[in-house]
Symmetry: C2
Subunit: 347 residues, 2 copies
């Protein structure tokens, strides 16, 4: 076994603290890499605090992981020592169900292995995430990362990036479409960048006037202050798609009214409590509410390659490991533009 | 003006009773026809009792109307005296919005004119429906009806038929798809017939074991008793589409679990109260909840032509006008297989 240093929480009420643990030796198909940067995702906090239930402790969070390969197994042919590498939300899946065969490992029928707060495919061994100095992952779940981009700012692409890229691609969003983005945070700012890069007209919907300038800098063409009934009325029946990145409970019905006939309200944020939906709001315009969860491995690589080609990264604030608890507090207040990334050299 | 005999309710608490009223003279583009049969839709009762709000009284219900043309305007070229004719849920729309131009008059941005409990495009003149001896409608909103089919059994196609045909066509349901139909009533029995005719594998979901035999006679290949957890478990992640015809409040979440990845739960019934939807149930499988409302005029004609070609009609029970109140009571108990149709010669 390999000794690893990281930060973990021991239960939902304790702070993150230094934690020593072990990872498996590098197997024939494994890639080992030194973690250089790890993004701080809102879901880290949900899971640390067991807000979704079923959390596994001790927990080493982190699923926006980039670094440099230090060892590869005998049968690894996709990576060599010295390569840049990334790992997102998944480290394994059953590999034989219809979804895995379609490259939709995130929807594996037999349960994909989450990068942390999950279990390996033996359904026993707990997984530990990227708030640590190194990781060992099967090469099929490791992504290639371009050296053209700022590596720290690439980290959030592994979750926030693919979570917004995937639905935009699945619903074939592009030129001629009007897209609303709901929520300007880690996910929302990537949704704006990608939707604009795909050629859509992008409108940021926000309750906060202070977001307008930044939304436009990120690529949004319009801004609608949703607390102003006049501004909301002006976009009634206007959008083809809404990318809803909000994970706090909120009412979908108002937003359904902003969709065109055949419009789709796509949820990538997951409120922990049910939302009330009035059937008439769907029926009167053949509208849909859909959900989408991260992305499969082939699409994640496609997204990273697209970002390298179009010079897209996340807007980040780099922090030392010791400041993560403070970062959580600021994240809860929306005080981050737009993703904290841990500099793992500070571990 | 033309004198018309019908049945109306004067307020939400009064029974249907004979009612004399007037319709406009036949204009240059109008078709007048004697109503021979009119279907009894569950929505008739919702609107009579003002359960959806905003009902207009006195109200002559009925939007599943078939009959024979008795007069046509000077500029009518689609119909001649003696033709069979049908009118569904719409008698007019703005005709110039993008949806009207796309043949999606049911989603007219400026508000289509409902056949009853609505207003003409002057936004003033109330519309009166098919519980009456004749109707005058612009030829563009009159459908051709084949003489190959039992005319009384054609009537419900104008609402129950198109309401289920349209989403099945929009979502391109056909061979290779597994379709669940929720609710075996007026809409549900047509959903079974159409989905089977389009080549899909059809499963009736019901809480009532007594529905199995009939569902299979109508074309369902499988039957799942939703009160039996074992039967429900066996179809977890099984369906591509659910056609949900239930207009009583019910929980969508259990049914979302029966969908495959990318599955769509399509609501054609409209519960009057909001339904609680848990975002995780959409996100974990890229699933959607969608709505669909009747169909546009071109598609309604397509549906009638398809029915003539494939010998599809509704299963009906023919009743005299005087028995409609009793029919409502039986409809509320689900005691009809599967649509009451009024024989208008009894008026």
């Amino acid at each position: 076994m390999i000794d690893v240093k990281g930060y973990a929480v021991q239960d939902p009420h304790s702070p993150l603290a230094p934690f020593q643990f072990e990872r498996r030796e590098v197997g024939p198909h494994d890639v080992q890499f030194d973690i250089l940067y790890c993004g701080v995702c809102h879901s880290d906090l949900h899971q640390i605090r067991d807000e979704w239930g079923g959390s596994i402790f001790p927990m080493v969070p982190g699923h926006e992981i980039v670094g440099r390969v230090t060892a590869v197994g005998d049968h690894v042919n996709k990576f060599k020592v010295g390569d840049l590498a990334g790992v997102g939300c998944l480290v394994d899946s059953c590999r034989h169900c219809a979804n895995c065969e379609d490259g939709l490992e995130q929807y594996c029928f037999n349960g994909a292995s989450q990068t942390y707060n999950g279990r390996e495919q033996d359904k026993k061994t707990p997984t530990y995430g990227g708030y640590s100095n190194l990781i060992v992952v099967h090469e099929d779940f490791v992504l290639h990362v371009s050296d053209k981009l700022d590596l720290a700012a690439v980290a959030p692409l592994l979750c926030a990036g693919i979570t917004t890229y995937s639905p935009l691609r699945h619903w074939k969003v592009g030129a001629g479409h009007k897209v609303a983005v709901l929520g300007l945070g880690g996910l929302g700012h990537m949704a704006v960048k990608f939707a604009a890069a795909f050629g859509a007209e992008v409108t940021m919907l926000s309750t906060s006037p202070s977001k307008e300038e930044d939304a436009k800098r990120l690529g949004a063409h319009k801004f609608v202050l949703t607390s102003d009934p006049e501004q909301v009325k002006a976009v009634t029946g206007y959008f083809d798609f809404t990318i809803d990145t909000v994970s706090a409970p909120h009412d979908y019905n108002m937003y359904l009214g902003l969709l065109k006939t055949n419009g789709v309200h796509i949820c990538v944020g997951a409120p922990p409590t049910p939302t009330e939906v009035l059937g008439f709001n769907l029926i009167g315009g053949r509208k849909s509410i859909a959900g989408s969860m991260i992305g499969g491995l082939p699409e994640t690589q496609e997204m990273l390659d697209f970002c390298a080609e179009h010079n897209i990264v996340s807007d980040i604030e780099l922090i030392p490991m010791q400041d993560v608890e403070t970062a959580y507090e600021r994240m809860l207040k929306g005080d981050v533009r737009y993703r904290f990334v841990i500099d793992m050299s500070t571990l």
